[in-house]
């Protein structure tokens, strides 16, 4: 486990360390490990200087961040893991970056990711796969695999990722760290490269729930540059019952598709929390099995629209040699060369599901079933304070194991997409180790009840202590 923000802050306050030492410790670890793990696409040289210029009383003073490479930092390269943006330099700060700067945090580099955040293994990066620190032959999960490993391997205190269908929670589970996706609309996405806009949220990786909350509190809130954000004061903490927390265990998450190793680990973890002011109740979310098909359709549709801007003229490379016969040919060649196979596959699928003959049958049908999934959660949250599920159906898989079969790869997100579809806050925390590999548990909260979700997650974290 790496060093927490709180620990670094304490040591800086007590003069047990200096900004130079804090940063150089991280940099030397990156220098040692980055070659084999391929975590950072760019490492910054100005981090110490930045930290020395910050006011030590600021809430994020001392915190060193890794930033997923789809979040813009002014003057720094931002590739989104895609060759098409290989030479793109950001012209402004994302709102989350602006806020971290204001609150005293600094950045150490940009982390590797699946191209345009599309993938569950970080194998789809245009710049090579990232490796799991627990076993270099295994994937770290994705798409924010670089950020997950950066925190897990101790290369920074905390990291930002983006979560569309599980891209923060799933790699957090695979790398044994905390990964959090907020309520849809809690954190601004201005300056975050869009994938599927009705799901996309910025998320946080950290070593502890306490650190996660600190970062979340520093970056949340309304932003006029992202129209879905709302005024948000951090959420409510009241529980349904006065003297205990009620946590729902949905039966649909413990049946199909879950590996016996994960199932055993989770059941053992759950058995430890009985009788500790936490009441586990069986619940049902009947439309769970439709979540992945719903996500598949809506996500691809939104991707095909969002990726239209990468034409190789305004953004990205222009690779063509000779004169073109038509503007279409120019676009096709640029995008054909600049985008990877998974990105192209989703553009083609999304073009299909949005085409006039199929729009009702696919896109509208999916949005209708989405409404039913949202309704399942609404009903469940009348009775419970949080819902507990496995974060992933399997342990981290081998590099290359699923890359040839897109559908099997997408099944890695089966337990995380429901919270994305429903705009709910969710956090993955480590609960056990199996065969030396980390297992994560997901806690899903009601909309804008982050405060309560963190409280519950902290209780579980204490009980499981790994």
């Amino acid at each position: 486990m790496g060093i927490t923000i709180k620990e670094t802050q304490k040591r800086l306050r007590n003069k047990e360390t200096t900004p130079e030492e804090v940063v150089s410790d991280f940099l030397s670890l990156i220098k040692d490990k980055n070659k084999e793990m391929n975590v950072f696409l760019d490492v910054f040289q100005d981090t110490v200087q930045e930290m020395k210029e910050k006011d030590p009383d600021l809430p994020l003073y001392g915190a060193v961040f890794g930033i997923k490479d789809n979040i813009l930092i002014k003057g720094k390269r931002c590739t989104a893991g895609s060759k098409i943006l290989e030479n793109y330099n950001a012209s402004f700060d994302a709102t989350v970056i602006e806020k971290i700067k204001e609150k005293g945090g600094v950045f150490i580099g940009k982390t590797n990711m699946d191209e345009f955040a599309m993938g569950s293994s970080t194998e789809n990066s245009g710049f090579g796969p990232t490796r799991n620190p627990y076993d270099l032959e295994r994937v770290p999960g994705g798409s924010s695999g670089g950020s997950a490993v950066a925190v897990s391997a101790g290369m920074c205190n905390t990291a930002l990722g983006s979560d569309t269908g599980g891209s923060v929670r799933q790699p957090a589970a695979f790398c044994g760290v905390v990964g959090f996706k907020p309520t849809y609309g809690a954190i601004s996405r201005s300056g975050v490269i869009s994938m599927a806009s009705s799901f996309d949220q910025v998320g946080v990786f950290a070593n502890t729930v306490e650190d996660t909350k600190l970062v979340f509190d520093s970056i949340r809130g309304k932003d006029e540059r992202d129209s879905v954000t709302v005024d948000f004061n951090g959420g409510l903490a009241e529980t349904k019952k006065k003297d205990k927390i009620v946590v729902g265990v949905p039966k649909e998450y413990f049946v199909e598709g879950i590996s016996s190793q994960v199932k055993e680990s989770i059941e053992e973890a759950l058995s430890k929390i009985k009788g500790k002011e936490i009441e586990l109740v069986d619940i049902s979310l009947p439309h769970t099995e439709y979540a992945l098909p719903v996500y598949e359709i809506i996500m691809a549709s939104e991707v095909s629209s969002n990726l239209a801007r990468y034409d190789g003229v305004r953004y990205g490379r222009e690779d063509t040699e000779s004169a073109m016969k038509s503007i279409e040919e120019l676009y096709m060649k640029n995008r054909g060369k600049g985008l990877g196979t998974e990105a192209k596959r989703r553009v083609v699928l999304g073009t299909y599901t949005l085409s006039s003959g199929y729009y009702d049958a696919y896109y509208i049908k999916a949005q209708k079933v989405r409404a039913l999934i949202i309704d399942d959660f609404k009903k469940a949250f009348q009775e419970v304070d949080a819902i507990i599920t496995p974060t992933t159906p399997t342990l981290p898989f081998k590099i290359g194991e699923k890359i040839e079969d897109p559908l099997t790869m997408h099944l890695s997100d089966i337990f995380t997409v429901t919270a994305s579809i429903s705009g709910l806050p969710a956090i993955s925390i480590p609960c056990a180790k199996k065969n030396g590999l980390p297992v994560g548990v997901q806690l899903i909260g009601d909309r804008f009840k982050e405060e309560l979700l963190f409280n519950i997650a902290e209780k579980f974290e204490k009980i499981w202590q790994i």
């Binding site: 098909p293 004169a323 016969k325 083609v348 897109p406």
Partner: protein, 105 residues
């Protein structure tokens, strides 16, 4: 609706994929063109599962209720560096214009 869904053909030909790739403006490699029809069929077959759900009386979801339109003055903002700076970031440019390959229709 659900009955209609069951009847949708999910055979995707190479030619259809070529058409979709043209509409989406992505040139596929020969290898991709070989694999994508099958991959697309697999995904479309998988999502056919939704036809089991009765959505006769369900309104489609479009946005979370907290959100509404946000209006602002159409003014340049502090984070904008102006067009000159943005044009400079493109691979080829001249006199504050983007330069692209010549196109002959």
């Amino acid at each position: 609706m659900s009955n209609v869904n069951c009847q949708i053909s999910i055979m995707i030909s190479k030619k259809e994929v070529e058409k979709l790739a043209f509409l989406g403006r992505v040139e596929l490699t020969d290898e991709e063109l070989e694999n994508v029809p099958e991959e697309l069929e697999a995904i479309l077959k998988y999502v056919q599962k939704l036809s089991e759900v009765d959505t006769e009386k369900t309104e489609p979801f479009f946005h979370f209720s907290e959100t509404s339109n946000v209006f602002r003055e159409d003014l340049s903002r502090k984070e904008n560096n102006g067009m000159k700076e943005e044009v400079k970031k493109t691979k080829e440019h001249k006199n504050n214009y983007l330069k692209v390959k010549s196109i002959w229709g």
